[in-house]
């Protein structure tokens, strides 16, 4: 089990490319040229007295159609605060109807490759982590991160959403995507990143034999001549390099027995946060299974939502 001493002793070798910000500004600028084309299809079977549930779609990088689940409270006066939930690596994004009775809109995003968003991009699991990894512009995660950024645009396109009260959360890959998207999109006013994946790729590869990180070892073993390019690509996608750009309040939750996302690497992301931040350590828990985590996440988000002013700039 890792302890605080291990976390403090860990120093990542990951460095930020000089043109990191330029690269992502270019990606977001290109994305802005693509019409969002948002649409909603109500799902009566999943809706109930408290929540209207819809399947939503919008366009993202390369014109791909991305889907998600969208839950809107049936009661209360909008515009409502909103929570985006980013998905884990292999799980399907689920419905979050529980927020509806709290008068909060939720959007769970099926990034490209997930069911509903994989008609034109389907590298599989395993597969996604190394898809197109030979270059920063071909890497599959360029699209995945774009899909997350476009989820913010989707919410901004909705009249029932208060644009000043958009929050983000997710676990594992969803934790990494929470960090990354919060750095790219200042519209996100706070986030909870649980057991974050996508942190300190070179060290994570060395520390574990479990997937998904081990996909990178497989790639390096089969294509040793391309290993250097792989690591260079990953510098543009490492959440620790996004962390300094996050200005909103952010929580990082770490399970000290995590055998999928090494605790030290998540802690490195936490250390690089420069805005208001909070650390949750779960000593006797593994990846994604700390008993208290879901309740703490809900409680923190509720508190942040209540701290922000409806319809106005928060200060």
């Amino acid at each position: 089990m890792a302890d605080q001493k291990d976390l403090d002793a860990f120093v990542t070798q990951v460095t930020r490319p000089e043109d990191f910000d330029d690269f992502w500004e270019r990606v977001l600028a290109g994305l802005a040229e693509i019409p969002l084309e948002p649409s909603l299809s109500p799902d009566p079977m999943r809706s109930n007295a408290e929540v209207d549930v819809s399947r939503v779609h919008y366009r993202s990088l390369d014109g791909l159609e991305i889907s998600g689940w969208y839950c809107v409270p049936t009661e209360g006066d909008g515009p409502f605060p909103a929570v985006i939930r980013f998905p884990g690596y292999k799980g399907e994004p689920g419905l979050r109807r529980d927020w509806g009775r709290k008068e909060v809109v939720t959007l769970t995003v099926a990034v490209r490759g997930k069911l509903g968003s994989h008609a034109d991009f389907n590298p599989g699991y395993p597969g996604l982590l190394t898809h197109g990894i030979q270059g920063r512009d071909t890497y599959g995660y360029k699209g995945v991160i774009s899909d997350c950024s476009r989820a913010v645009d989707f919410l901004l396109s909705r009249p029932e959403v208060d644009p000043q009260r958009i929050f983000a959360c997710g676990s594992s890959q969803g934790g990494g995507l929470t960090l990354i998207t919060s750095a790219l999109r200042a519209e996100i006013k706070g986030g909870v990143a649980g057991y974050p994946f996508l942190c300190c790729f070179p060290e994570s590869m060395r520390m574990l034999r479990s997937y998904p990180y081990d996909e990178l070892n497989c790639y390096a073993r089969v294509y040793p001549d391309l290993a250097r390019e792989m690591l260079e690509t990953l510098r543009y996608y490492d959440a620790v390099n996004f962390a300094p750009g996050i200005k909103c309040p952010m929580v990082v939750g770490i399970a000290l027995e995590d055998e999928v996302c090494p605790p030290e690497t998540s802690y490195a992301a936490y250390q690089r946060l420069t805005g208001p931040k909070e650390l949750w350590l779960f000593p006797d828990s593994g990846h994604g299974n700390a008993h208290d985590y879901p309740a703490k996440e809900t409680e923190w988000l509720e508190r942040q939502i209540n701290l922000t002013k409806p319809g106005g700039a928060d200060d």
């Binding site: 079977m45 399907e92 699991y125 395993p126 399970a255």
Partner: protein
């Protein structure tokens, strides 16, 4: 007599007779990308009920010599069942089987989440989950049919749906020597609808909100999948974990009924929800499986 009182054994006997008539038609191909220094990874394809082509990942220790213990990990409720890491891969055959509708077993139909749990549930012969459970039986047949290594003791393991598939497969396949089931999906238990459910079991609640008059019909369709009913036929020792606050996979009361009916059950109850015992139980399970498989 309502349909859900139909004898589950008769239904499974009939499905097993159908499976026996279908050639396994097993293809096995080494995957050079995911193979490791200590074990080789293979992609297996085989045929299940209705002629569906099914997929699994199978790893075999490089040093395999003589009968090799096997661990068959049954799929969770979700579209992906990947090559889950376990250190047992260096000493045992490890198989990660998918069911119809999951990734790489989706040539005919693709499962939806939520949605799969109630697909065709209005009638037993159209209820997809019956076929999903038959695919779990077929996975055991594929493990025994592969030609990479002679199979020694077999342990089944899984979480949620995978836990229920493991129990039912053990009830139907006496070759199974151990089962580690975590928060097994209580689909089919007659008391299930009395609980305040969350997903995935809440798919049933969603369905009944739209079709309230079909309650008896869905109880009938689900009945053969009830792990509590199948429990007395599980001869193998079972390590069962439950979460006290679980409302999505195996509500505690049903889990305790299940434990009471299993002939050889080591029950561990944790203060969790659907995640069950989390990390502490994963340590217990790993040691237990090693002991059952004789790999120390």
């Amino acid at each position: 007599m309502t349909e859900h009182r139909t004898d589950p054994d008769a239904i499974w006997d009939s499905l097993d007779r159908q499976l026996e008539q279908i050639p396994l038609d097993l293809e096995q191909e080494r995957d050079a990308f995911y193979s490791q220094p200590d074990w080789d990874v293979y992609r297996l394809h085989y045929t299940g009920l209705d002629g569906y082509r099914l997929f699994c990942w199978l790893s075999a220790p490089v040093s395999a010599n003589g009968p090799v213990p096997a661990l068959l990990r049954m799929p969770d409720y979700g579209s992906v069942h990947d090559i889950v890491y376990t250190p047992l891969r260096s000493v045992a055959l490890v198989m990660n089987a998918t069911h119809r509708g999951q990734r790489q077993s989706e040539s005919v139909f693709q499962a939806n989440y939520p949605g799969l749990l109630t697909q065709g549930i209005e009638r037993q012969d159209t209820f997809v989950m019956m076929r999903v459970f038959a695919d779990a039986l077929r996975a055991v047949d594929a493990l025994l049919g592969q030609t990479l290594a002679e199979v020694g003791p077999i342990a089944l393991t899984g979480n949620g749906l995978g836990g229920a598939l493991s129990l039912l497969a053990a009830a139907r396949r006496p070759r199974i020597t151990a089962v580690a089931a975590d928060t097994p999906l209580a689909l089919g238990h007659p008391e299930l609808l009395e609980h305040d459910l969350v997903y995935p079991l809440a798919e049933l609640t969603d369905y009944l909100r739209v079709y309230p008059h079909r309650k008896e019909a869905i109880l009938g369709s689900m009945a053969p999948l009830d792990p509590v009913a199948a429990a007395p036929k599980v001869e193998a020792p079972v390590l069962l974990s439950l979460g006290r606050r679980d409302r999505g996979l195996c509500p505690l009361r049903i889990g305790e009924l299940l434990a009471a009916r299993l002939p050889h059950c080591d029950l561990r109850v944790y203060d969790g929800a659907s995640e069950g015992g989390g990390h502490p139980h994963s340590v217990v399970r790993e040691a237990w499986l090693r002991e059952q498989l004789g790999v120390g």
